[in-house]
Symmetry: C2
Subunit: 266 residues, 2 copies
């Protein structure tokens, strides 16, 4: 399997994550020969709080697959649960298909984030997950992760924390969806993306949206048209500068001010 040509990519200069030549192990995030120890995401991914030898043990169970192309599925709803996945580069979306065939997006995943924990309890993934762009993944077979967690208290502790974080985040989304207006949801979404980009050392104020307006709408419980209208409205207010998928947050505090400014319902 020649990994080198697969990571080749004639990406345009405005790509959020510039893809470099696959020469250095420490540099190219698409390169699947990278180790946990040398990965630049190790500070926010699973290896956090592990010592050198522990990282090595984790490294041994991680499988680095071929890169995923835009639209490729990591898994589909109801597939047997086998692994959780850490995003190494690119981005993914999870979605479920409702009875009438319409999809609803349940989450977006950026580098350093963990995908697939919804399958742990039922042993089947509860949603489908696909790449939004050229992307790569570290696959972590869950049974092995459990075994290793049993040996390494730090890893167990950290994985509890990762799951707890997911729960806390989901509850924030619950509040967002149950009480925020379209404008508040959108502002909150942009701010959330901003801080997640910052986590991976990308600009928190200028980035490319990896997802479509439709994806955003399905995630926030809005229609495409509403998302589009809100974007132009925020632009008219001077809070953001939107140009297709390119976005610049021009007034972070102003965006924060949007949230909660509209009076909530009873």
């Amino acid at each position: 399997m020649k990994s080198s040509d697969a990571s080749e990519d004639k990406s345009s200069p405005k790509a959020a994550i510039v893809i470099q030549s696959p020469a250095g192990d420490k540099v190219c995030p698409h390169n699947n020969r990278v180790s946990c120890a040398s990965c630049r995401l190790s500070e926010l991914c699973l290896p956090i709080a592990l010592n050198k030898s522990e990282i090595q043990q984790l490294d041994d169970i991680v499988e680095r697959n071929r890169p995923y192309k835009k639209g490729d599925h990591l898994y589909r709803q109801n597939d047997g649960f086998k692994s959780v996945y850490a995003v190494r580069s690119g981005s993914f979306k999870s979605y479920v298909l409702s009875d009438n065939g319409q999809g609803r997006v349940t989450g977006f995943y950026l580098p350093g984030e963990i995908i697939g924990m919804d399958g742990i309890a039922s042993k089947h993934y509860q949603n489908s997950t696909q790449a939004l762009e050229h992307a790569s993944i570290c696959e972590i077979p869950f049974s092995q992760l459990e075994r290793l967690s049993h040996q390494l208290p730090n890893l167990q502790h950290h994985f509890f924390a990762i799951m707890g974080n997911e729960i806390a985040k989901d509850q924030q989304v619950h509040t967002l969806l149950s009480s925020y207006t379209a404008e508040e949801r959108t502002a909150s979404f942009l701010l959330g993306l901003s801080s997640r980009f910052a986590r991976v050392s990308l600009s928190p104020t200028r980035f490319l949206l990896p997802m479509t307006r439709s994806d955003i709408g399905e995630y926030l419980g809005l229609t495409v048209e509403t998302v589009s209208r809100i974007f132009t409205a925020l632009q008219r207010k001077g809070l953001v500068d939107v140009n297709n998928r390119e976005i610049e947050l021009k007034d972070i505090d102003g965006l924060r001010g949007i949230i909660g400014s509209n009076q909530a319902k009873s």
Copy 2:
């Protein structure tokens, strides 16, 4: 500390959980002298999949506090995270206060369910949780649960599953809030309650709602008035029989039919 008088309760005959005299350790769910081994919830709570000696070890770290009165707080938003809690009897709601003082309910908890996992990651509870009625709790100090999980692979596995279940459930709520109509949300909510009551051997078709219409509305992202209207609408359709807090699901399949019957948005 006399536990006997605290569990005394002149509950009306229509109480969902009839409170019995605190004589037998195996019977009264409010009785705090019950052990995990003798608890009738052991099949769905933490002890599941543990053997006798393991249950004993779990039992040793569980703290059974005094019962909680309606409105008592288990913890408040931003309190330091110390424990997770298993509901032994009664019910609880979690909520957050939005900036403008309005509360939004993030969850309801029935016997056998685990509360407080939102605090694991940040070490502070992300919401406040209070009893909806006379209730009792098993407190499980999290650091001890972690230590024990490290010794008992079954417990580690099961706690991963409990957290994974919470994540999967939260994502279903995400879909519910982002794409269901008021009627679909309400029907789905009632069906969810029904199966949760069934889990604890209560009638899945006739039960008392432990929460107010307002709580339901705050949870589902609707106003009190809408919830009330939907209830009467479902009653007119012959699907339910509502009488204040008493509810009877007269046509479960009909209620299931509501969900997804209204066309979803783009």
